[in-house]
Symmetry: C2
Subunit: 212 residues, 2 copies
């Protein structure tokens, strides 16, 4: 388990993922005009326990009122702040295939502050094609393009074989984080954060349980 050292000790990735869940639920509640919520109601909506909710929040401060619960908008803002969603993150997409296309056009990322600034692909046929308002650039010019206009995050949606090379390129271009959607293990140096989304794992894990 990857952990980070913060003011309040070590925060596990389990906690961070649940915070992301609370954030979405709170946004839904706010949209529906709900003003306060208890840890047990929040827990029910996220299929966990109320103790877990309170414990997760306790790593970052005190956000509730005993006897009353949490203010929906206040807690949502607090979590938004904890997750670093009060600022924009600029991103470069590597790989303009089906998955890259889905990520690029996925609503919600942009609203959350995740903004694509570059799209790179090695296929010259694709170079120049415009997605939204962004033209696909030549992958081999990526280092130069990223020097002129750097990004925080590299999103890897290339085939497995190309992934490590592209990660290295992104790292050399000073990205601080990598989101890897390619179905292969990649490594990054210390100081660069890595998140992995492996679709095959989800399918295969379901297959396992269905087979039992």
């Amino acid at each position: 388990m990857t952990v980070i050292e913060g003011d309040s000790g070590k925060i596990s990735e389990f906690t961070v993922r649940r915070l992301s869940g609370y954030y979405r639920i709170l946004a839904d509640l706010e949209r529906n005009g709900v003003h306060t919520i208890s840890s047990s109601k929040l827990a029910d909506m996220g299929n966990i326990t109320s103790a877990q909710v309170r414990k997760d929040l306790s790593y970052f401060g005190t956000f509730g009122t005993r006897g009353l619960g949490y203010g929906v908008s206040d807690l949502k803002k607090a979590i938004q702040n904890i997750l670093g969603l009060t600022r924009d993150w600029s991103m470069a997409l590597f790989g303009a295939g089906y998955l890259g296309h889905a990520l690029f056009f996925h609503r919600g990322f942009r609203e959350d502050g995740f903004v694509f600034r570059h799209i790179f692909d090695s296929d010259l046929e694709k170079v120049g094609t415009v997605w939204g308002e962004l033209a696909i650039e030549q992958e081999k010019n990526a280092a130069e393009a990223l020097r002129a206009s750097p990004v925080d995050i590299g999103v890897i949606a290339t085939p497995a074989a190309a992934a490590q090379e592209i990660v290295d390129l992104a790292v050399a271009s000073d990205v601080r984080g990598i989101l890897n959607f390619a179905p292969t293990e990649v490594s990054v140096p210390d100081g660069v954060w890595l998140r992995v989304v492996n679709l095959a794992v989800a399918f295969e894990s379901l297959s396992f349980y269905l087979s039992q």
Copy 2:
């Protein structure tokens, strides 16, 4: 943590996800002509410990030879069997948007035995459009279509607002598993397996660590 009761006790989802990782690594090794591998080499390739590899495998039997390690092809076949990848799984895709498109055309799923048999969408503009060799069907005819031609797994790639309703429809049509890609919590009755892939969680968790 979801667990299942098996012959050898309870298998945690952590173990299943790692098995999926071993499987991919072994497939790569086999493709590269490697014949044997030790638990520690396999561990290095997956960024875990050799004890973890041996422990995971021990839940299902003994697959190695002391002093020598594991036969790559044999272990790959054994894991393929454990994960239920020796048979085909038929699937219905709900939601023919960007993400559905990416999932449908993703190479590798089909090779793994995951085959889409239906595509449903509520947008009448899309109905009739052919993807690969499959025409998009009207979502409101899904129950009927699935009665005529049932599937094992429902893949949910609809907007959040529609997800629970579609899950209920899929469950009523006797799917045994749900893969939820919609950014919302959904619930399924006992006896139906649920896996969740939430892309926003990956982005937001990266944002958290980058903010520290």
